[in-house]
Subunit: 509 residues, 2 copies
Amino acid sequence: MNVDSGAIARLGTLVGEIVDLRHAASLIGWDEHVFMPPGGVAVHGRMAATIQRIAHEKFTSAELGGALEDAAREATTLPPDSEPARLVRVTARDYDRAVRVPAEFVAEQAHVASAAHQAWKEARAQSSYAVFQPHFEKVVRLGQQYAAFFQPVAHPYDALIDIYEPGILTSEIQTIFDVLRPRQVELVRAIQDRPVEQAPFLKAGYDERDMLAFSTEVISAFGFDWTRGRQDKSAHPFAVPIGSDDVRMTTRFDNRYPFEMLFAAMHETGHALYEQGVSPRWARTLAGGGASQGVHESQSRMWENVIGRSRPFWQHFFPLAQQRFPSQLGGVTLDQFHRGINQVKRSLIRVEADEVTYNLHVMLRVEIEIALLTGAISTADAPAYWNEKIQEYLGIVPDTDANGILQDMHWSIGLFGYFATYTLGNLISVQLWETYKDGDPQWAERIQRGEFGPLREWLAQTLHQYGRSYQPRDLVMRITGRPVSTAPYLEYLESKYGELYGLSAAVRP
Amino acid sequence: MNVDSGAIARLGTLVGEIVDLRHAASLIGWDEHVFMPPGGVAVHGRMAATIQRIAHEKFTSAELGGALEDAAREATTLPPDSEPARLVRVTARDYDRAVRVPAEFVAEQAHVASAAHQAWKEARAQSSYAVFQPHFEKVVRLGQQYAAFFQPVAHPYDALIDIYEPGILTSEIQTIFDVLRPRQVELVRAIQDRPVEQAPFLKAGYDERDMLAFSTEVISAFGFDWTRGRQDKSAHPFAVPIGSDDVRMTTRFDNRYPFEMLFAAMHETGHALYEQGVSPRWARTLAGGGASQGVHESQSRMWENVIGRSRPFWQHFFPLAQQRFPSQLGGVTLDQFHRGINQVKRSLIRVEADEVTYNLHVMLRVEIEIALLTGAISTADAPAYWNEKIQEYLGIVPDTDANGILQDMHWSIGLFGYFATYTLGNLISVQLWETYKDGDPQWAERIQRGEFGPLREWLAQTLHQYGRSYQPRDLVMRITGRPVSTAPYLEYLESKYGELYGLSAAVRP
C-alpha cells in the first residue's frame, strides 16, 4: 500500500503479522503433504494449531477491532474504489466474519471434523453409510448453528456459500442450476446415444519421468514462474501460495491414468498463475490471494479444460507428445487424440467427471446440502436422495454408498457450502475466455503456436492483480460486462461436444 | 511431563506454545535453505521475524513470568533432581536470560548482523578487512553491551559463552587451552617433520549418486531413524530438529572433495541422533534438544571422527567402499586409505582442519574475542593479532585476510562466544568414547562388524534422553565421573597420530 502512515497503515501493521502467521501455516501444511517424515505428524499438528489460534486471537482482538474502526473512518475520506478503501472493506468483511463465530464453535468444529474424517475413511472403506451418519449429523448441525451466527440472511445456506464465494446468494445458485440442469441432462442423453470410440493409447504404458518432463514443458509454456514457485510430488495434487512470490504445487503419477498427471498439472498451474499474478501491493494484506474459490477454479479449469483439452492446443502439443511417446502415440491422429481426452462418460465419481457431466455432480450435492440444512430431509434420507438424483441426472445408480454419498471427503472435514464453487468456476472460466477471444482475433493461431503470453497477461491485468480487493461478482462484471452467466458455458459445451460427437443441431443452439 | 495439573502444568501450557512457534521458525529456516524458490526470500524473512518476535513477546510476558514464579514455588516441594524440578530450572534459566536482554537490543543486534553479514561477504570476496571492520566494531560493542546485562559475572566473556555453553566459565576454557596448546603445537611440529604421503584416490572422480548411496548406507548403519527425519541437499550441510520426531539434515557433493559428503553426513547424523534420542517427555518443553553446542558437537565429532575415521570402522566399510568404487579404490589398501582420511595438514582454513590442528584454530579465535571484548586489542589490531597467532600455533601465515581473519561467517551474524564449543565438543567426544569403551569390552569387534546399536543405545540412555534437563558439566560428570578433561583427548590424539605417523615415544605419553 502507498499509505504509509495514519490509521490504515496502523491497521496494515497489525494485519501483516496475521498474514505472516497464515503463510507459515500454509508452509507447514505444504510440508506435511510433501516432505514430512511420518514421525512429524504430531509436531506439525501442534505447530499448525498454535499458529492458527494465535492468528485468530490477534485478528479478533480489541486492538485490531479498534484499528479497523479508525481505518474505516479514514477510508471515508478516500474514493470508494481506491486501493486503500477496497483494502479496508475486505479487511472489515473478514473481521466481521471472524468475530461472529465464537472461538468455542471453531474448536468444536475442528474436533467434530477430526472424528468425522476418521469415520468417513472407515465408512468409505467399508461402504457403510451408518458409520458416517452420526458424524454427518453433527456436521449438518454445525452448519445450521454457523448459519445462525449470520442472521439475518435471505437463506441460511447463504452464510455457508459466503465463506467460499463472498456475496453469492443461494437464490442465484438455484437460478443458475435451473438453467444448466435440463440442457446438460439433454446433452448427456444425446451423447449417450452415440457410438463409443475406444482410446486405448491413453492408457498405454507411459514412463513417469517422460510424462513429468512433458507436463513441465506444457506448464512452463503456460508461464508458471519457476523462480517464484515449485512443483513436487504428493498423494493428491494441490496448489498453495506462501504469498504470491512462493507458490507451491504438487503432482502425482498413476500408471493406470498416465495423462492425469498432465491435466492435473495444468489445473494446478491455473491456480498457481492466479496467485503469482496477484499484485505485490497486496502483500501482507488480506487482499492477497484469489477472490474466491469459484474464481480460483475458473483459472484452473480454463487452463486445464478450455485450453488444455482444446484442439488448437493439441495442434501445437500433439506432435511434441508424439516425439516423446512414439510407441504409444505414433499411430494416433490428432483428432483421435482430441476425442480421446474429451470422452464423455457417465461416471458415478465426481473427480472422474468430464466437462459435460461435472455440473450435474455438483448440483446433486448442493441440493442435498440445502435440503439437509433447511431440514427438508434428514441425514437418514440422504443416501436415497443421492441415488435418486444421480439416476435422474445421469441415468446411473451407485452400486455402493462408497461410490455414492460417501465418495467425497468435503463433508467429513466440515466443508459444507463449498461444492457450488466448482460450477461457478466452470461458468466463469468460459465467460472470461469468450471475453478474451473477443479482444484477440489471433487467439487460435497463438494457441496453435503454443503461445500463451497474451492470455496470461490479459488474465493478470484484468483479474489476477486485483487479488481479493474486489468481490467475485464485481470482478466478473468489470471484466466481462455482465454477471456470472450460464449462456457462454452452455454454448461452449454444446458447440464443442456437438462437434466432437456429431450431434444434430437439435441439441445445438 | 507427568505433572498434569497445578502450576508446573500451567507453565507447560504457556511454554508449549512458544516451543511450537520455535519449531515453526526452524521449519521455515530449513525450507529456506533446502526448497525455497528464489522469490521466497522476502516472505520467509517476514514469517520468521514475526514468529520469533511473537515467541519472544510471549516468553518474556508478565503472564509467563507469573506462571514461572508459581511453578518455581511448586518445584520446591519436589526432589531437586526430579524431572519437573529440572524442567522448571531450565525454564527459569532461559527466562532469566531472555528478560535481561531488552527487545530493542535484540532488534539492533538483528539489524547490525544483517548489514555485517552483507559486508562480510563483500569483504571476503575482495579480501578487504577495511570493508568489514566498522561492522565488526559494532559486533564487538554489542558483545560488550550484552555482557553488561549479566553483571555481575567473573569475566565479561562468561556471559557470551553462556549462550552456547550454559555454566562454562572463561577461566575454565583458558585452563583447558593452556593444557592443549603446547601439546597440540608439539604434535603438529612432530608430524610436520614426517614425510608426506599422497592419497590421490581420495580425489579420483566419484559419482555423486554412488557417494550418496554409500553415505546413506553408513548413516543408516549408525542408526539414523528415517521415519523421524530426512536428508536433503543444501549449499552447506546442517541438521535442524523440528522436535525430536522430525529431525532434518542436509548434505552436499563437491567433486573436488568427494569424501566430504560422507564425513559431513556422519557429522550431521551425530547431531541428528542426539535430537532423535531426546525423550518424548521433553516434547513441547524447553528441556527438548541438546544440552549445549559443545555437547552437540561432541556427538557429531564422535560419529564423524572418533568412529568414522577409525581403523575398526573401515575394517568393515572399506571392502564395501571398494565394491562400490572398484576403479578408484580397488588397488588401495585399508592402511593407505585410513592414513589418507587422517592426513594432518597445516591449513589456513578452520573448516578444512583435521583433528590435530582443529583446536589450535579455535584457540586463536577465542583469544581474539576475549582480547577484543576486554579492550586489550582493538578491531584495527585484529588481523595482525590473527596472523601472529596462527604463525605461532601452526607455523603458517595467511596470504590474504580472506584466508585469515575474514574466513568465518560467525562474527558477521553476531555469533561471538561460540568458537570454544568446537573444542569442548572434541574433548567431550573422546571423554564419552573412553567411558563407553570401558563398559563394552567388545567395542572393537562390534565396530569391525559395522554394529553401532550398543553405542547408540548407550549414548541415548546416558546422554540423549535427558535433553537440556541437565547442564553440560553435570551431564559429563554423571556419565564419565569427572569434569570435562583434556587428558582423554590428548591421549587419543597422540596415540592415534603417533601410530599413523610413526612418531617416537618422545611425543607420545
